[in-house]
Amino acid sequence: ILKNTEFLFMLSITHYKQYPPDISKVYSYFECRSRSEGQFNEVVFFGLQYLLKKYLAGPVVTEDKIQEAKIFYQLHFRQPVFDEEGWRKILEKHDGRLPICIKAIPEGKVIPRGNVLFTVENTDPDFYWLTNYVETMLVQVWYPITVATISREFKKILAKHLKATSGSLEGLDFKMHDFGYRGVSSQESAALGGAAHLVNFCSTDTVAGIQMVRRYYGCPMAGFSIPAAEHSTIISWGKNREKEAFESLLDQFPSGPVSVVSDSYDIFNACKRIWGDELKERVMERSADSTLVIRPDSGDVAETLLQVIKILEDCFGCSLNSMGYKLLPSYLRIIQGDGIDLGSVDEVLKKLRDKGWSAENVFFGCGSTLLQKMNRDTLNCVFKCSYVETNGRGMDVWKQPVTDPSKGSKRGRLSLRRNSNGFLETVERGAGKPEEDLLVTVFENGSILQEYTLEEIRKNAQLWQEDIIPCQHNQDHLQAEQQHIMNAVH
C-alpha cells in the first residue's frame, strides 16, 4: 500500500551513470555545518521520522510508478536517461522496498553544529545510486530542525526573563504561541513547522501541527489554544461599536481565557477608554481562570507594549510578586503577536523589566519568524558523500573547495560520541568505536526500526540549566570563568 501517490521520483536521476564503474557502496551523511560567526550554536534534531514514515517506508516502488517516471523523464530531459532497469530491480529483488540503511541521533536531541546527525548507505551493492537519490527528500529535514531550533531559542530567552522576574518557570510552555499557519508556504509545511514548535511549547493556533504530531509522533493532543478575536469580528460591528464588540466577547466567553485584538482603530483609546473605563467592571469580574488577554497588533513592538501596560496599570492597578516585580491583576494579561522575533522578544522583556514589570504579564505570538523566515542556510544543513566502495575497496571521499574552506565535508564513515570531557564529537574515517556510537539505526530496507514519541522528544529537547540561569548570574559566572582561565595561564 503506497502512502503517497503523488510522490514522484526526484532528480539526481542521471547520477547512476556518473559514478565510477564497479562502485558498490555510496555512504553519505547530514550535518548542520559550523559557522565561525554564528547565532545558533546547537540544533534540535527533529522531523526525520515524519519523512521516513510518509515517503520512504514500505514498498514505495511499483511498476506503475516506473512507467509513469519513464514517460515523464523522457519528456523532461528530451531523451532517455531514466534508469528503468535499476528501479525494476528494486521491485524484483526487494519488493519495492528501498535497500538503504539510515542511522540517526535520537529525535529531540540538542547537538552542537558541525556534527553528523544522520548517515545513509545502500545495503545492496546493486543500488549504490540510491543513497544520493534520496538526498533531495532527506535534506528537507532542514526545515523541522530549523523551526525546532529557533523555537527553542525563543524558549531560552523567555525562560531567562521569566526566571529572573518571577523566580519560577511556571507557564513557560505557553509563552510563545504559533500564529504562523497562514504565513507558511503550504499545508504540509504548516503541519511540519507547527509540529516542530510543539517540541518546545504547548501553545498553537496551527491546527495542522497537532494533527501531524498525532499521526507521526504518537501524541493525541500536543498543543492548546483559547478563544480569540480577529479584526473582522471587531470591525464588523462598525467603527462606533468597538465597545459592543468587546463586550459581546466577554459575554460569549465568560468562563475561560479570551484574547481580544484591540488595535483596529486606536489601541491606546481601546485600553484606556473601553477596557479601562466603559467595560472596567466587566473586566474586573473575570478571574485568573478567565483572563482577558489584550492584543495589540501594530506600531513599534516595545513602545506599544510599554504604553499599553502603563495604561492598564493606571486603570486596574498592579501588585508585586515575590521577586518585587509588578504584576497586572490576575484577570488581565497582554499578548503581543506582531513583529515578534528573537531580537524583539528579548528587547521587549528587557524593557519591561527595566520598568519593573514581570515577564508573567505578557505572552507572545509569532508567525513568519517561527515557521517561514528561515532557509537551509540558517543552520547550513547539508548532505554529503563521505565514503564509497569500488572494486571491493573502501575509500574516504570529500569535497574541499579552495574557494570556500567552510564548505569542506567530512571524510569516511562517521560516528558520534561523547568524549571524556562530556562533549559531543564526530569521529571520521571509520575510526569510531561501535559501542560509543550515539547514532541509532532508524530505517533499514524499507522498515522503520526505531521510533520516538513526542514525549521522548520533548524530554530530549528540554532546556539545560545554563539556559535558565538569570542574566546577572550568567555574567558573573562568565567573568569568574574568564578569571579562572587567565589565572590558569599564569
Partner: protein
C-alpha cells in the same frame, strides 16, 4: 479533474481562533465579505529596498481551490473528527457543530462561498484587490473568514512568481544589451530549490510558480502541480539536463577528478551536460582539466550539447569572472554583433550558488562591464528562489471589508492609529482598468455603477464548484514580459 485530497479536513485547516469566530460577529449578521491584496507600503524604512516589487503576478488560487476547497469537503466523519480535536484543544466545547452540519445537509458538504478573482498570471500593481470571498448563505456568514488561513497561503505562489519575474526582467535587460536578442531567456534561471524548501508540497507549488516565467527546473514536483491543476498544451512545462553533483565527482577519489569529468561528458555526448567543477579547485579544473587535458573532448561537442561548467563556491561575481577569463584563454571567444565576448558554442558556464535577485544583478552587470555577453551564462537558484521569502515581502493580506447585519450592508475596515500601512479597504470592491491602461480598485460598491466599465474580477468558485479555470499556457501568456516593458528596462 482529479478529486481533492481525501485525507484533508477543511474543518481542521484553519487557525484555532477562527473556530470561535462564529460566536463573535454581530447578531443577525447574514454576510461577511472579505478581500485579498498585496498591500502597498507607503512609508518604507530608510534602508531603501533595491527591488521595488511594484507589481505582483497573481498565481496559485486554482491550486488551492482544486486541492482543498472544491466538491464535497464536509462529511459527518470529518465533523466528528473536528469536534473531538477541538474539545481537547480548547478544553471546552466551542466548535460550531451545527453550522457544519447545516452545510453537510443543505449543500451536500459543498462550501457555500463565492470567490471572484483576477485572471491567473495577471500582473497587477500593489494595493489592488486581487480576489474577494463572500458567503452565499445567511447561515454561513462565518465561513468567509474560516477559509482565510488556507487562502492566504496564496502569498507563496504569488511571491515566488513575482520574484522570479523580476529576475527575468534583469536577465532580459542584460541579455538584450549584450547580445541584441532574448534568445534562450527562458532557460537562464534554473530552479535548484527542491531540497531547500520546507516540504514536498511547497516544492510543487513554488516550482510551478517559477515555471510561469521560465522553463528550466530540477524541481520535478512542480510539473505535477501544473498537470493536475492547470494543464498545458505541451507534454511537460519544464525541462532539465543531465548534471553532476559533488558525490559523482568525489566518489572517484581526489586524484581522479579528470577521470570523473571525462566519464561524465562521455556518458552524455549529445545533450547539454552540467559538471560541477569546484570539488577541490575550480580554477585548476577550468585551466588544467577542461582547458588542457580534456580540451579536445570538449571542442568536439556540438552547439546543441555544450559542456556547462558549474562553479559552486566563492564570491559569485568574482568566481564567474575568473572562470570566464580562464576558459576564455583556453577556448577563444568571438565578439558578437554588439562587441561582447562569447565563448565557443560547445562551452558555457552555469552559476548555481549564492544566486538571489541582488547577486544576479551584480553578476550580469559585472559581466557586461567586463565585456562578456550574457549568452555565456545561465543561473541556478535554490533557497532564494523558493524558500527565502515571506508574506511580508509583498504584504499579502486578507481583510473583511463588508458585512450585512439586520439586512443592512455596512462598509467596514481597520485603521490602526500606529500604522497607516495597515489600513484596509472598505465595502464591496471591484477592479477596473482606466482608459490610460491603469489599474484601479473601486471601493464601497462604486464599481457597480456602469461608468467604470467591466469588473476584471471573475467568479471562479461558487458553492463548491470551480466555475472558471485557466490553463498554464494562459497563465504564462498573462505573465509574459511585454515588449514595452523590455523597452523600458533598456532605457
Amino acid at each position: 479533474m482529479e478529486r481533492g485530497d481525501q485525507d484533508f479536513n477543511i474543518l481542521l485547516a484553519t487557525d484555532s481562533y477562527k473556530v470561535t469566530h462564529y460566536k463573535q460577529y454581530p447578531p443577525n449578521t447574514s454576510k461577511v465579505y472579505s478581500y485579498f491584496e498585496c498591500r502597498e507600503k507607503k512609508t518604507e524604512p530608510s534602508r531603501d529596498r533595491k527591488v521595488k516589487y511594484d507589481k505582483t503576478v497573481f498565481y496559485g488560487l486554482q491550486y488551492i481551490l482544486h486541492k482543498y476547497l472544491k466538491g464535497k469537503v464536509v462529511t459527518s466523519e470529518k465533523i466528528q473528527e473536528a469536534k473531538k480535536v477541538y474539545l481537547e484543544h480548547f478544553q471546552d466545547d466551542v466548535f460550531n457543530e451545527s453550522g457544519w452540519n447545516y452545510i453537510l445537509q443543505e449543500y451536500d458538504g459543498h462550501l457555500p462561498i463565492e470567490v471572484k478573482a483576477v485572471p491567473e498570471g495577471s500582473v497587477i500593481p500593489r494595493g489592488n484587490v486581487l480576489f474577494t470571498v463572500e458567503s452565499t448563505d445567511p447561515k454561513c456568514y462565518w465561513l468567509t473568514n474560516w477559509v482565510e488561513t488556507i487562502l492566504v497561503q496564496i502569498w507563496y505562489p504569488i511571491t515566488v512568481a513575482t520574484n522570479s519575474r523580476e529576475q527575468k526582467k534583469i536577465l532580459a535587460k542584460y541579455l538584450k544589451e549584450t547580445s541584441g536578442s532574448l534568445d534562450g531567456l527562458e532557460y537562464k534561471l534554473h530552479d535548484f530549490g527542491y531540497r531547500g524548501v520546507s516540504s514536498q508540497e511547497t516544492a510543487g507549488i513554488g516550482a510551478s510558480a517559477h515555471l510561469v516565467n521560465f522553463k528550466g527546473t530540477d524541481t520535478v514536483a512542480g510539473i505535477g502541480v501544473i498537470k493536475k491543476c492547470y494543464g498545458t498544451k505541451d507534454p511537460v512545462p519544464g525541462f532539465s539536463v543531465p548534471a553532476a553533483e559533488h558525490s559523482t565527482i568525489t566518489a572517484w577519489g581526489k586524484d581522479h577528478e579528470k577521470d570523473a569529468f571525462k566519464h561524465i561528458v562521455t556518458q552524455f555526448p549529445s545533450v547539454p551536460v552540467s559538471v560541477v567543477s569546484d570539488s577541490y579547485d575550480i580554477y585548476n579544473a577550468c585551466e588544467k582539466i577542461w582547458g588542457e587535458d580534456l580540451r579536445d573532448l570538449i571542442e568536439s561537442r556540438s552547439a546543441k550539447a555544450p559542456l556547462l561548467v558549474r562553479p559552486d563556491s566563492g564570491n559569485p561575481l568574482d568566481t564567474v569572472l575568473k572562470v570566464l577569463d580562464i576558459l576564455g584563454k583556453k577556448f577563444l571567444p568571438v565578439e558578437n554583433s554588439l562587441g561582447f565576448k562569447v565563448l565557443p558554442p560547445y562551452i558555457r558556464v552555469i552559476q548555481g550558488d549564492g544566486v538571489d535577485i541582488n547577486t544576479l544583478q551584480e553578476i550580469v552587470e559585472g559581466m557586461k562591464t567586463n565585456r562578456w555577453s550574457i549568452e555565456n551564462i545561465s543561473f541556478g537558484s535554490g533557497g532564494a528562489l523558493l524558500q527565502k521569502l515571506t508574506r511580508d515581502l509583498l504584504n499579502c493580506s486578507f481583510k473583511c471589508s463588508y458585512v450585512v447585519t439586520n439586512g443592512l450592508g455596512v462598509n467596514v475596515f481597520k485603521d490602526p492609529v500606529a500604522d497607516p500601512n495597515k489600513r484596509s479597504k472598505k465595502g464591496r470592491l471591484s477592479l477596473h482598468k482606466s482608459q490610460s491602461g491603469e489599474y484601479l480598485t473601486l471601493e464601497e460598491g462604486r464599481g457597480e455603477l456602469e461608468e467604470y466599465g467591466v469588473d476584471l474580477l471573475h467568479t471562479v468558485f461558487h458553492n463548491g464548484k470551480i466555475v472558471k479555470t485557466y490553463t498554464f499556457d494562459e497563465v504564462r501568456e498573462n505573465a509574459k514580459l511585454k515588449d514595452c516593458e523590455v523597452q523600458q528596462l533598456l532605457n
